[in-house]
C-alpha cells in the first residue's frame, strides 16, 4: 500500500515540471520595405503544474524589441510575447532569434523570419552542376513588383562555358533566365548579370552565380 502511494507521489512529482508550450515558436513573414517593421506574437501556455516566471527575454539586435505584459504564469495560464523587428536599411531574408529564460533555468528559443521583399526578387541566386554530370539546362525566376514598372532588359554571363538566355514570361512581372553549360568536364565559375531598366535614372543590375563543381 505504501509503495502504491509512493508511485502516485512520484508520478505527480514528474508532472510538476514547469513548462511552457509555444503555439508557434517559428514565425515567417513577407513584407515590403515600406512596412518599416513587423510584429510577431508568440502565444504560450503553462502546461506544467507549477507557476513559471519569465526572468528574461533577450534579443540580440537593437532592431528587435520584445514586450511581455506580465512575468508569472500559473499552471494552465496562457500568455504572449510580442516581438517587433524594425527593418532600417535591411532587405531580403532576415532572421532574428529571441531567447526566453525562466526562473528555473529553463530556456526557450523563438525564431522570427522575415523576407523584406525588394522590387525585384530572383530565385535561386545560384545554380550549379556536379563535374561530369548531365549538362542539363537550369532556370532562374525573376519576379518584379507589377506596380514598379520594372523591365528586365538582358542577361550576360562572364563565362562562355555557362551560357545564359533570357525569356519573358509576363512583361514587367516575370522573367526566366536559363543557364546551360556547354559541358561539365571541368570546374567553372560564372557570374551572370541581370540588367533592368529600373530605376530610370540609374538602372540597376543584379548578380546571380553559376558553378561547375
Amino acid at each position: 500500500m505504501h509503495i502504491r502511494f509512493c508511485f502516485a507521489f512520484l508520478a505527480s512529482a514528474g508532472m510538476a515540471l514547469a513548462n511552457l508550450h509555444w503555439e508557434s515558436a517559428v514565425q515567417e513573414f513577407e513584407r515590403v520595405p515600406e512596412d518599416g517593421s513587423v510584429t510577431a506574437k508568440y502565444a504560450f501556455k503553462n502546461t506544467g503544474s507549477e507557476p513559471v516566471t519569465i526572468r528574461r527575454v533577450q534579443t540580440s539586435c537593437g532592431c528587435t524589441s520584445a514586450k511581455l505584459t506580465k512575468t508569472t504564469f500559473a499552471p494552465g495560464e496562457s500568455g504572449e510575447i510580442e516581438v517587433k523587428f524594425t527593418f532600417g536599411s535591411r532587405r531580403g531574408l532576415q532572421r532574428k532569434l529571441i531567447s526566453v529564460k525562466g526562473d528555473k533555468d529553463q530556456e526557450w528559443r523563438l525564431d522570427l523570419r522575415c523576407n523584406i521583399r525588394e522590387t525585384v526578387t530572383i530565385n535561386p541566386a545560384f545554380v550549379f552542376w556536379r563535374i561530369h554530370s548531365d549538362p542539363a539546362e537550369q532556370s532562374i525566376r525573376i519576379v518584379c513588383e507589377p506596380s514598379a514598372g520594372v523591365k528586365v532588359t538582358g542577361v550576360k554571363s562572364s563565362s562562355p562555358r555557362l551560357a545564359a538566355n533570357l525569356t519573358t514570361a509576363k512583361p514587367g512581372e516575370e522573367y526566366i533566365v536559363t543557364v546551360k553549360p556547354t559541358d561539365t568536364s571541368q570546374k567553372e565559375a560564372a557570374e551572370l548579370t541581370i540588367e533592368t531598366n529600373f530605376p530610370p535614372d540609374a538602372p540597376r543590375s543584379y548578380r546571380v552565380f553559376a558553378r561547375i563543381r
Partner: protein, 137 residues
C-alpha cells in the same frame, strides 16, 4: 515486519532518486549550451563531419581576422554582396555548411537562412553556441 519496512524504504529511496536523476541528466544535457534552435548543430557533431565541412564565419571581418575556426570563410549580412563569390568558390557539393556567429547569432541565423533560401545550398547548419562553443575547452 522490520525487514518489510526496510525493503519498502529502500524502494522508496530508489524511486525518489529517479526523477532527481532525470532532472540532473537533463540539466547536464542542456547546460551550458541550452536547447537547439531549428537548424542548429552542436559542435561535437559538426566536428565529426570534418573534413567534409565548410565553416562560415558570420561575425565581423575584424573578429574573423583576429581569431576564427581554421579554414572558415567570412561573410555577414553587411558584406554579403561582396563576399558571396568567395564563399561559392570555397563551397563543394559534398561539404556541409556550418555557419557560426556571436553567441546570440542573429547574423549567423540570417546568413544560414539566405544560403538555404536564396542560394538553395543544402545542408546548411548553424553552430549552436556560436564561436564561443569553439573556444570552450
Amino acid at each position: 515486519m522490520i525487514g518489510r519496512i526496510l525493503r519498502e524504504s529502500a524502494i522508496i529511496a530508489v524511486l525518489a532518486a529517479l526523477p532527481a536523476g532525470v532532472m540532473a541528466w537533463q540539466h547536464l544535457q542542456v547546460k551550458p549550451e541550452g536547447p537547439l534552435a531549428p537548424g542548429e548543430v552542436r559542435l561535437s557533431e559538426a566536428k565529426a563531419w570534418e573534413p567534409a565541412v565548410l565553416w562560415v564565419d558570420a561575425r565581423s571581418p575584424a573578429k574573423h581576422a583576429h581569431r576564427t575556426i581554421p579554414g572558415a570563410v567570412q561573410i555577414d549580412p553587411e558584406n554579403w554582396e561582396e563576399r558571396i563569390p568567395a564563399l561559392l568558390d570555397a563551397w563543394d557539393p559534398d561539404k556541409r555548411i556550418v555557419v557560426f556567429g556571436d553567441r546570440e547569432g542573429d547574423a549567423a541565423a540570417t546568413v544560414a537562412l539566405r544560403l538555404r533560401e536564396e542560394m538553395q545550398l543544402s545542408p546548411v547548419w548553424m553552430l549552436h553556441g556560436g564561436f564561443e562553443a569553439w573556444l570552450r575547452p
